[in-house]
Amino acid sequence: MAIGEAACVSVHGANRLGSNSLIDLVVFGRAAAKRAAELVKPGTPHEEISEIETQKCIDRFDKIRNAEGDTGTAELRLAMQKTMQSKCAVFRTEKTLKEGVDEIRKTYDGLNSLSVKDKSLIFNTDLVETLEFDNLIRQAVVTVDSAYNRKESRGAHAREDYPKRDDQKFMQHTLAWCDGKETKISYREVHKSTLTNDVQYFPPQERVY
């Protein structure tokens, strides 16, 4: 079961600005909780996790903890922040996004020369920040690739070279697969109907102020 941003149930389409995700919490959080309560018997132990999965987590942890490269996490994180802020900000163009697509991969390559100085296992904030960076840089690669491929403006994605919304081509969710710095971009239809007949489907409208 997934709720919130992870579920992407088309309640708000591309627009997740402000506190719109509240509806995901309230409506789908409630629905998921009710369904979970039906399905799960109290006291049931968690399904056994396969050794391979556990080992994957430990391998990742150990690899990062023992990283002996020459680039500090803070340096790579700053490079990532600067790329995302200057090339993949709210207002974007083909040019900035293309530069971002290339630049963020250079930062991604920094994972190979990563250095974690603190090797301890108690309150190791150096390690935690590096694990965070490892998550974030993958997220950044996917974000900039998805934005580059979406040649329209929608919600917080404002392409100055494509100022209009293009429902013909892009009224769909981006699906992205991340394998290292390689990504595969695909799309999924947006739900255009409600679950009951109590309310009608609201078609998207232009945002005007």
Binding site: A74, D118, F123, E129
Partner: protein
């Protein structure tokens, strides 16, 4: 003779010295308490030369600069960086406060940064707050209402709401409790200013129906009356609150009410 020295393994030694590598003319020395429980070594004071020409105004900025540019092994809590979350409470220049709201310009000479006083240290600047959270839990910091109705809101007048001002703003950073000598001495039993301020916050809430029980619960020689109005708490509070006054109010209620 009673031994009053610190045990051998608690004595703070001189640590590493990190010389400036930027060539800056505007340097400040920052002395930071370091301790890593996994090494078996004594605590030490590491000294960092920090380029102040490229450092924003708060003590937290100095720590971030050290962690990002000089020594990533240094450990401290921080989150919001805006004086709202209370994570970066520590002792700077001999005074408790939030690193994110304390300007380093207000500290003369070398900048000494220690964990909050008298807490068990987990690592470097990170104090163990488990005891404080247990005490917080003990005052049951939630609204208690016997009323049957669960669908209607409980109305509160503006005057009654105003009674919570100065109490609800507390962010539980522990600057006050860890500045209190009485809490240093009896921290296991005395609730301390932070928790008592919260106890007060629920005692005076007009919507709460267990005021009497709450008062009775704190009316204890150790839990409440270890406050000797030293007022370090009020002077330490980074949010400008007055825990000492709240404690005095509780004492006054107990002295004047029939419980």
């Amino acid at each position: 003779m009673v031994q009053i020295n610190l045990p051998e393994n608690s004595q703070v030694k001189k640590g590493k010295y990190f010389e400036d590598k930027t060539g800056s003319k505007n340097l400040r020395k920052v002395n930071v308490y370091r301790w890593d429980p996994s090494t078996g070594e004594n605590p030490r004071i590491d000294t960092y030369e920090v380029d102040m020409d490229n450092c924003p105004s708060k003590v937290l900025d100095i720590l971030n600069k050290i962690k990002n540019e000089i020594d990533p092994t240094i450990a401290y809590r921080r989150s919001c960086a805006h004086g709202v979350c209370g994570s970066c409470a520590m002792n700077m220049g001999g005074k408790n406060g939030l690193a994110c709201t304390t300007p380093h310009a207000e500290i003369d000479g070398d900048i000494d940064i220690y964990p909050l006083p008298h807490l068990k240290v987990k690592k470097d600047l990170i104090g163990d707050l488990d005891g404080l959270y247990k005490q917080y839990q003990s005052i049951e910091p939630w609204l208690k209402s016997k009323s049957e109705s669960k669908t209607q809101e409980i109305i509160q007048s503006k005057e009654d709401r105003a009674k919570l001002d100065g109490a609800y703003e507390c962010i539980m950073c522990a600057c006050c409790s860890t500045s209190c000598p009485s809490y240093w001495w009896n921290g296991d039993k005395y609730l301390g200013p932070a928790v008592l301020l919260q106890a007060y916050r629920w005692i005076v809430d007009s919507r709460d129906e267990e005021r009497q029980a709450r008062l009775k619960k704190v009316a204890d020689e150790l839990k409440l009356y270890r406050c000797h109005t030293i007022l370090n708490c009020t002077s330490a509070c980074p949010k400008g609150l007055n825990p000492a006054k709240a404690i005095a109010e509780i004492k006054k209620m107990l002295a004047t009410a029939n419980i």
